[in-house]
Symmetry: C2
Subunit: 336 residues, 2 copies
DNA sequence: GGTTTTCCTGACATCGTTTTTCCCACAAAT
DNA sequence: ATTTGTGGGAAAAACGATGTCAGGAAAACC
């Protein structure tokens, strides 16, 4: 009646000692069939639920893991998350998600709270401008940690995308179609991811004997992509193809072309990145670099579990390849 | 060196007693400037972070709140979340997000874990087919709770949208334009939200002397919306306007029209719901019912905080109005 | 000088678990 | 009958904080 039932309440009701109840609840130790039944019945009758905070405090184990991500509203991330959650929840973990919105200060507060609450593991896309102290703090507290997408530090497990190879593939596709005037489109900050992608782009251009690759910034949403593309068209009307930092800006760029009376895939070719659901549905459907988000998610979960189970394992770096999906926004360059 | 620093570690390092350190860390009690400095310096040097699990256990207060939502990948939800988080984090709470994907079983597991971990509050969009036991469980554990969007139970604080009024407004707009053959488009299950919206739609049709409103199902994503619309066109070519259950399916429907060689806003009018970012950017831009997601988020946070502070408060039900944003997908019905 | 503040210590008790140790009874073995 | 073993359970000590209460030393007041 008064207050939550605890081990003590159940123990008294079942006429046994506290440790006995504890053992029954966990299915540990040696307990006779008879008392087990009695305890379970009492627990059910009292509506007893164990207090994980107390358990975690005593045992030092915490089956809550955090997923700290830079942009919750990105559909690609949402799909990765569902992959992570599927696997970890099956193993009895509770996964809770935090959104930093790429704000290093907010992230710092969240990570500190995370540590205070003593979570058992972390999957993390470090925000832009994440200071080294953030990594030091996590390392000092020995939190099992996998970084995702942005391998900005190097001393931790990591799961990411083979970014340079992906944009190299994309660039090669454009070169083979005959494009000579191209741009890398999207992103603003020089994150590791964008740097690698641009590197792959430029390396491949160079291999093709081309030296005039343009880099064109845009915030990572559709509206910004649209406006940035209109600007690009004004400033560099000679460009016949762009490789985008993500599908969202790519779709914005595609809209911009159509608004300017141009045809994506005919007048200007576009290659996206991520293969979000909208990419296939858009008009025209978007050619893009595809990585399976669900696969990424499962890999992330597996790496984290391994790290939790054996903290002394050597560091694992996994990079997943992206695949070129040719749809309707790439074609031969326009004549003239 | 060995193990995490605790109050004891810090106390010894600073040459003071444990209660003193505790008071300094919490900013409570009367502590002289001098010893406060000494303690803080020692804490910093040792990289001390208080253990919230222990604190929560002792004090009975837990400043972690959970946000259990039915579809993380929906951009509207993502924006609501950011509103909630902004306000609650400012108050020192840690907000962690769980995604049920509208799966009542997954939700049951998550809620149970939630209770075991003794979270301090919950903002909840109940999954479809949520059984009453889920509510009973939360009530039994006296968890401060605000339901969101789906007011399926009635005995808890709630923040939602004036759904029936919104679709009534939308329907009136179509009637005024002269439409007589309309459909309610999108959604599959008869959730409270959809039921209310359909009720507003049908009531307004009836007021206009029209009785042949069609209800047309679709899963809640763009691709499904596209296909459902193609089917609708086949089965009911007489329809000249649709009111959608959400912008995502509305945009899918808009695509379908264009793919069928029809012009949204000329041949068939479309009204969406949510006013997500894509709505304004789409071609043609989507007429839609808009509610400010950030405002919803802040309201949610406020209601929850009030409930936490005074558990005996009378139940609060807030419904926020949606506003009709007229863009390019509505117009007079086609002739013939 | 005495009296009041101000600041701090020490020694518990408490939250609800887990874990280790220890004990008892009963059975099997000597 | 004494030893040895063993299954089943209890008692007590943690875990890391918060809170309380009695008291004491130093500084501040008149």
């Amino acid at each position: 009646m008064s207050g939550k039932p605890t081990l003590d309440t159940v123990a008294k009701a079942a006429g046994v000692s506290i440790p006995t109840v504890s053992q029954v609840m966990r299915g540990a130790g040696r307990i006779s069939e008879k008392t087990r039944d009695r305890v379970l019945k009492a627990a059910k009758a009292l509506n007893y639920v164990p207090d994980q905070k107390a358990a975690a405090m005593r045992s030092g184990e915490n089956r809550e893991i955090g997923l700290v991500i830079n942009q919750l509203s990105n559909p690609f991330n949402a799909e990765v998350i569902s992959g992570v959650v599927d696997l970890l929840e099956a193993e009895g973990y509770l996964v809770s998600i935090l959104d930093t919105r790429d704000d290093a200060e907010r992230q710092a507060r969240q990570l500190e709270a995370f540590i205070r609450h003593g979570r058992g593991g972390l999957i993390w896309v470090p925000a832009l401008d994440t200071p080294d102290e953030a990594f030091d703090l996590l390392a000092a507290h020995k939190i099992p940690l996998v970084t995702f997408l942005r391998n900005v530090h190097g001393d931790f497990d990591h799961v990411g995308i083979r970014n340079a190879d992906a944009t190299a593939t994309a660039t090669r596709h454009l070169l083979e179609l005959g494009h000579r005037q191209t741009a890398y489109f999207g992103g603003t900050e020089m994150s590791i991811v964008r740097r690698d992608r641009i590197a792959g782009y430029q390396r491949t251009l160079a291999e093709g004997g081309i030296s005039n690759g343009i880099i064109w910034d845009s915030e990572d949403n559709k509206l910004a992509g649209l406006e940035a593309m209109l600007n690009l068209l004004r400033c560099h009307p000679e460009v016949t193809a762009i490789i985008c930092n993500g599908d969202v800006v790519a779709l914005g760029a595609s809209l911009a072309l159509q608004r300017a009376g141009l045809m994506p895939g005919k007048d200007v070719s576009i290659i996206g990145f991520d293969d979000i659901q909208d990419a296939a549905v858009a008009t025209p459907p978007l050619t893009t670099m595809s990585v399976s988000p669900h696969k990424l998610g499962r890999k992330l979960a597996k790496v984290l579990l391994d790290r939790i189970r054996d903290p002394d394992m050597p560091i694992s770096i996994s990079e997943i390849s992206a695949e070129l999906i040719i749809r309707g926004t790439t074609g031969e360059p326009r004549k003239g």
